[in-house]
């Protein structure tokens, strides 16, 4: 099945499928967020903003999105992956890896040599996936606090 997977740029018509693939319950659905992301990353036409989908037999079964960001937090330009999802039915056949490899290729074309992401500590599956792709704890530490 892995050979039947193709990776392509997302198109405006993929929006509803992306919202469905984004694994959140109905109360937490964030269509407005995804519409904004599509405006910037799919319709924007900028090379440093990437939104890819994985397809099997014409059906979108996964997506990955990222961009090149420069000088945030004092960091030289680097690639960020901020969204990754694969439909539960097609997990375990290497789709996430194919999408990750493709986005890394695109980021490299943008002349960055580092890719970063941020994952909830409790999301073991996603953390394990990124580690399997060679990602390690980086130079930056995320800090936060409750604001009373």
């Amino acid at each position: 099945m892995k050979n039947r997977v193709s990776i392509r740029n997302a198109m405006p018509s993929d929006l509803e499928t992306i919202i469905a693939l984004d694994e959140v319950g109905p109360e937490e659905e964030k269509p407005a967020y995804w519409r904004g992301i599509f405006d910037h990353y799919v319709k924007g036409g900028k090379k440093d903003r990437i939104f890819l989908v994985a397809e099997i037999a014409g059906e979108v079964v996964g997506f990955i999105s990222g961009e090149i960001r420069a000088w945030e937090f004092g960091s030289p330009p680097c690639g960020w992956v901020f969204a990754l999802a694969v439909s539960p039915e097609t997990r375990g056949i290497g789709i996430a890896q194919r999408m990750f490899e493709e986005i890394c290729k695109r980021l490299k074309q943008g002349r960055v040599t580092t890719v970063r992401t941020m994952v909830d500590r409790s999301n073991k599956a996603t953390l394990s996936f990124f580690r399997s792709q060679g990602l390690r704890s980086g130079r930056y530490i995320e800090l936060e606090k409750e604001i009373d």
Partner: protein, 148 residues
Amino acid sequence: MKLNKGSLFALLAVLELASDCTRQLSTTDIAEKYGISTHHLAKVMRNLVHAGLVQAVRGVGGGYRFAGNVGRTTLLDVIQLFETLESELDVPNHRSKAGEPIMAELQSITSEIDDLTKAVLDTITLETALKSTRHRAVAAAGAAGKKA
């Protein structure tokens, strides 16, 4: 973080056996490769057999074979068979109430460190660790080839 000897020997043995699941090795084979105590390793192997991570093969040419799931078993799964990975603050028994806030703060900080340590170890599968090991070996061989 300081791993106890049991954890370290278990990680070495499990990674060695998992690198080729069809292969059987004796405790002597493993102990000699890593320069560790055969006697101590034998005790560790009994725990690993009990946990189902390795299988003891009896008879001539017997030894141990990996019996777990390389893609699912994490480094933390192995370590937790031998220790809890909780930082130990040697808190004095006869402290006054006035010292409680600082003691609580130090315990909170060590707990934060413990959580991070566990989050790292719990997302590195044996498969990922072995993949990185192979990359490291290839890179080292390449560097050695350049020097020669």
